[in-house]
């Protein structure tokens, strides 16, 4: 049975797939906390397993990303600009990529962290996960936004969510500065190569929150008429 005129008029909405992708990104990045716990415990077996899990989840997110891209032909008329939508998708995907890179680097080099920064480090990672969780909350409002035609109260609600996301990100920045300061005091007693990579890991964790914030700001672009 050929598709009828009315049914072929409706394309596949990108909203649900975008939300599914963000959910799988969130699944991936939340595994970072147990990963870091294992690393700081020097339990390399658990850390390795955790790192594999993260890589697997990143792969799953990648697949979702490709599927969504394939189902967004130019002939689709959507309530949001196609380009902005694809950028949100790219940003979301970068979060999972970064999480995979962090886990890969640490397991690859069997990195050791100075005991004194352990607590700070866990808090720092947890805050980055918070940021992407907040980005996910905002992305989950997309179907409601379409329902209301991107107007009124729903837009304000999403804007307040994005504001909250910005707050989490700046909080994360603060944690980053503190952990850098702690490391700065210790760095003369540590092997220089290790210090170099410690700073890189800290950088990357900071980028996680940055990326989440950028998901939020791309979403804000979708709201604009």
């Amino acid at each position: 049975m050929a598709r009828t005129t009315i049914s072929s008029l409706f394309g596949n909405s990108p909203v649900k797939p975008l939300q599914t992708h963000m959910a799988s990104v969130q699944d991936c990045i939340s595994e970072l906390v147990p990963f870091f716990e294992a690393v700081l415990d020097h339990d390399w077996k658990a850390a390795k397993a955790q790192q594999k899990k993260i890589a697997r989840l990143e792969n799953a997110a990648d697949k979702l990303k490709r599927n969504l891209r394939m189902q967004l032909p130019r002939s689709l008329f959507m309530p949001v600009s196609r380009r902005d939508l694809l950028e949100v998708l790219t940003m979301q995907d970068k979060i999972a990529n970064k999480a995979k890179d962090i886990a890969g680097l640490i397991t690859g080099r069997k990195m050791e962290f100075p005991e004194t920064v352990n607590e700070q480090l866990i808090a720092f990672v947890a805050r980055a996960v918070d940021a992407s969780a907040q980005a996910q909350t905002a992305i989950n409002e997309l179907d409601e936004l379409v329902e209301t035609g991107f107007g009124g109260r729903e837009v304000k609600l999403v804007q307040s969510m994005i504001k909250e996301l910005d707050a989490i990100e700046s909080d994360n920045d603060k944690l980053e500065r503190k952990i850098r300061a702690s490391l700065f005091k210790l760095e003369n007693d540590l092997p220089p190569v290790q210090v170099m990579f410690l700073y890189r890991v800290i950088d990357w964790i900071g980028e996680l929150a940055d990326l989440s914030q950028r998901v939020g700001s791309r979403l804000e672009l979708l709201l604009a008429r």
């Binding site: 009828t4 005129t5 008329f77 035609g149």
Partner: protein, 418 residues
């Protein structure tokens, strides 16, 4: 007139076949938005369609039937050779039936209306003469094909914007939905009743004044509003349902409304599209029965309207159900609040056209209405390729219908003699 009975039977069979085809395919398109939005099940859609298609065809189908039957061709030119009109109408029916069969096999979004109009114009212009066609009337019909999707789109855009403003974007969408949705139900009943009163009921012997028309439409509107209010008051709020999608409960209210607009759509469709099948039949019957005289005044026999209604319902029951299933599976993005805006806008436009006697395409009107909701940023994704194929089908359908009708016309002329 020779072969009178054969010609009569042929007309009825072809007409029934057309009506069957409309019921099988077009009705499913008309009901698709309602089924897809999940407001009504396929079984309910079939029942609603069966009742309201029939009612629409019977109560408000007269005006368009008149246009198809005698609005396009200047029958005065044929008073000496009435059999030509009979052959022509038979040829138009057959051509349209075959073209629709081919097109729906290939999945082209062709319209029954466009095909039959193209076929009638074709046989008249070539078989009889250019002057036999009321080009002014044909011009206004073609114009209405452009205007109707635009009008439906505009109406649906503003309907959906009003829903956003009054209900969805407010602090208490559920309470506001309960407050305002009855008015939309009233509007649905009022518009359909009004147009029907104004244009449709003359042929069943009901003469009414303007004031009576408004009064009756108002009363009909109020009645359906109270029926709707009753069902809305019986709804239970499920706070759990709002967790995933905040408007789940609001949509329940709109689902009640959607049932009414689905009825309106079926009614509108019946009032406009049945004419495509029975208009030519009516023309043949009136000539054959009057012994070869082309009587412009003869009223439309009611049994012909019944024939059309029965054909549509038969097609719907036998085949339309399956088409509806396909549609229902494909339109899941359409929630009742959006579906209602699109359906009501299309139904209003179609019923207006029916009242004016303009044969338009219900499906294309509905496409316009859906695009209107899309313009209000209310739909996740609309496939614009369909719009392009619709334009293409316009360009192909008219000549295709015309050429086939011309061929059949000369074939009948050869078989039955001029």
């Amino acid at each position: 007139m020779e072969y009178a009975i054969i010609l009569l039977i042929m007309a009825c069979v072809f007409g029934l076949f057309m009506a069957w085809g409309i019921g099988a395919n077009d009705v499913a398109n008309a009901m698709g938005t309602s089924v897809g939005s999940g407001a009504i099940t396929i079984k309910q859609a079939v029942i609603i369609a069966a009742i309201f298609e029939f009612a629409g065809a019977f109560l408000a189908g007269g005006q368009v039937t008149k246009t198809i039957r005698k609005g396009i061709i200047d029958a005065d030119l044929l008073s000496g050779t009435p059999e030509l009109l009979v052959y022509g109408m038979l040829a138009a029916l057959l051509a349209a039936g075959i073209w629709l069969l081919v097109a729906s096999r290939l999945g082209w979004p062709v319209s029954t209306t466009h095909t039959i109009v193209g076929a009638i114009v074709g046989f008249a212009a070539v078989g009889i003469g250019m002057s036999a066609v009321h080009w002014g009337k044909v011009g206004s019909i073609v114009m209405s094909w452009v205007v109707s999707p635009l009008l439906a789109g505009t109406i649906s855009y503003w309907l959906f914007r009003s829903v956003q403003g009054l209900i969805l974007s407010t602090k208490t969408p559920f309470e506001n939905a309960k407050k305002y949705v009855p008015f939309y139900i009233f509007l649905t009943g009022f518009v359909i009743a009004l147009v029907t009163m104004f244009k449709g009921l003359k042929h069943i012997g009901l003469e009414t004044t303007i004031l009576q028309n408004y009064g009756m439409a108002f009363i009909v509107g109020l009645i359906v509003m109270f029926v709707g209010k009753y069902y809305i008051s019986k709804l239970t709020i499920d706070p759990e349902a709002d967790r995933d999608f905040h408007f789940a409960n609001v949509e329940k209210v709109f689902a009640v409304l959607m049932v009414f607009t689905a009825c309106a759509m079926a009614f509108a469709h019946g009032s406009n599209d049945v004419a495509n099948a029975i208009g030519p039949v009516a023309a043949v019957v009136s000539i054959v029965q009057s012994g070869g005289e082309i009587t412009q005044k003869s009223a439309l026999p009611i049994w012909i309207l019944l024939l059309g209604g029965v054909g549509i319902v038969a097609g719907l029951l036998m085949y339309g159900r399956r088409v509806m299933e396909t549609i229902g599976k494909n339109i899941t993005e359409l929630t009742p609040s959006r579906g209602f805006a699109a359906t009501l806008a299309a139904a209003t436009t179609v019923v207006l056209a029916s009242g004016t006697g303009l044969p338009i395409s219900t499906t294309h009107t509905l496409v316009g209405a859906v695009l209107g909701v899309g313009m209000a940023r209310g739909i996740g994704a609309v496939n614009l390729n369909v719009v392009r194929t619709i334009f293409l089908s316009w360009i192909i359908t008219l000549p295709a219908g015309a050429i086939m009708a011309i061929l059949f016309f000369f074939m009948f002329k050869g078989i039955f003699g001029a």
